[in-house]
Symmetry: C2
Subunit: 243 residues, 2 copies
């Protein structure tokens, strides 16, 4: 892992860009910390630069609550090499949506499964590199959309102690068997009136999770309109499970 | 309104029993308060004495968060005169449940509508009497089960500024039109794995509410197993809307 740039944000948070092999990422840590901070991995739909304005707000909230935050570019996203299979699946998805046709499980599988298969080992390698640093510690958490990645990570990564999942992304039904294997505490955010969101799938997935502690928070406000007070609820969820 | 008994609880909360005409009730207020406290009406399924252990905990949480709390006996409940129509509807309900038969809308209407029709005017008269006291003030909130009562109260009572509804009680489908008229902020608690609960009805009702701010919190833990951290979330909801 190599740091390639760093800056201090207004609130004193230290933001460092890094590369892990060919994968770009960003790490946010407290300006000064007496002890190693538990790490939260921020999930996003790909395109680090495009997503940056929203990611940095989430990262600053994490740091303000006493944690560190990190994220990496998704396979095929941003400036990473395109993946023809994912591009094709995405084109088929947009064609179906534009034509008002149902998004078949076959399209969702082609869109999501290869992404999960590549992204999860990359996230685990990122954890290996980051947790070797003295300013960071486990256990860690995952927070974000592309919840299929969060589901797989929760099943295979023993350092993951909790996850906040933003419902609303596509999850192939074939992954429900994995969802049943998830046992870590989950906090699921669902925007109830998000038209691009399959609400029933989100509720079915919540039902499927095997976790004894799982909480669903549904709100109004559309895809990006998660109410401000939910940020506080997420911080308290992390504090319960990472401290 | 007449106070009939009073005691100090361990945490200094002043608990006073009262009667309003023939209706018994309980008022909980801070031991000492520099200013009038916003009032929260606690809903329950009837039987004040039976429900007291759970009600007093909820009331103490309200007072600890800076509010006052009050509750009254439901029509036909506890030591109030029985109502033959409600008893008959309840017997039909239990017969259907024991026989494993579906609980028809007809039974639910006979069980809930007469209760709502009588309980809501009684709660409004209670507000008239309580808000005339110097230690209490509006706007007020409703918190509890028998959510059909909360729905009707939210539609007809302008002093009600917010409501916390414990999903899981029967709500006749005919009341969904009233649910669409509700515009105050709502915080709905749903025990996801409560076997006695019609989860789909709860989700449909949440969808029907007309409120621009409505939040659903679903948790595991069975009917009475609402997690402790949800008490904090409820206090913060009240603080946002009653202060």
């Amino acid at each position: 892992m190599h740091f390639t740039a760093e800056q201090r944000l207004d609130d004193g948070v230290l933001e460092r860009e890094f590369t892990l092999g060919e994968i770009p990422g960003i790490l946010w840590t407290p300006g000064s910390a007496p002890a190693p901070a538990p790490l939260i991995l921020l999930g996003h739909p790909g395109g680090l630069r495009r997503m940056y304005p929203r990611l940095v707000v989430r990262a600053q909230n994490c740091v303000a609550a006493g944690f560190a935050a990190a994220t990496i570019e998704l396979p095929g996203g941003g400036e990473r090499p395109r993946r023809a299979d994912l591009d094709e699946a995405r084109a088929d998805l947009h064609r179906a949506l534009a034509a008002g046709q149902p998004v078949t499980d076959e399209i969702v599988e082609r869109l999501v499964l290869p992404l999960v298969d590549q992204a999860v080992p990359e996230l685990r390698a990122t954890l290996d590199a980051l947790l070797a640093r003295p300013e960071l510690r486990g256990p860690v958490a995952y927070a974000g959309g592309v919840i299929a990645i969060g589901v797989r990570l929760a099943v295979v990564e023993p350092r993951l102690a909790a996850a906040v999942l933003f419902a609303g992304s596509y999850v192939p039904r074939v992954m429900f068997a994995e969802a049943r294997q998830v046992t870590i505490p989950l906090h699921v955010l669902l925007q109830w009136d998000d038209e691009g969101n399959d609400r029933q799938l989100a509720l079915d997935l919540f039902d499927a999770f095997g976790s004894a502690e799982k909480t669903l928070h549904a709100n109004m406000g559309g895809h990006t309109g998660i109410p401000h007070f939910e940020g506080d609820a997420v911080s308290r969820f992390f504090a319960r499970h990472l401290r």
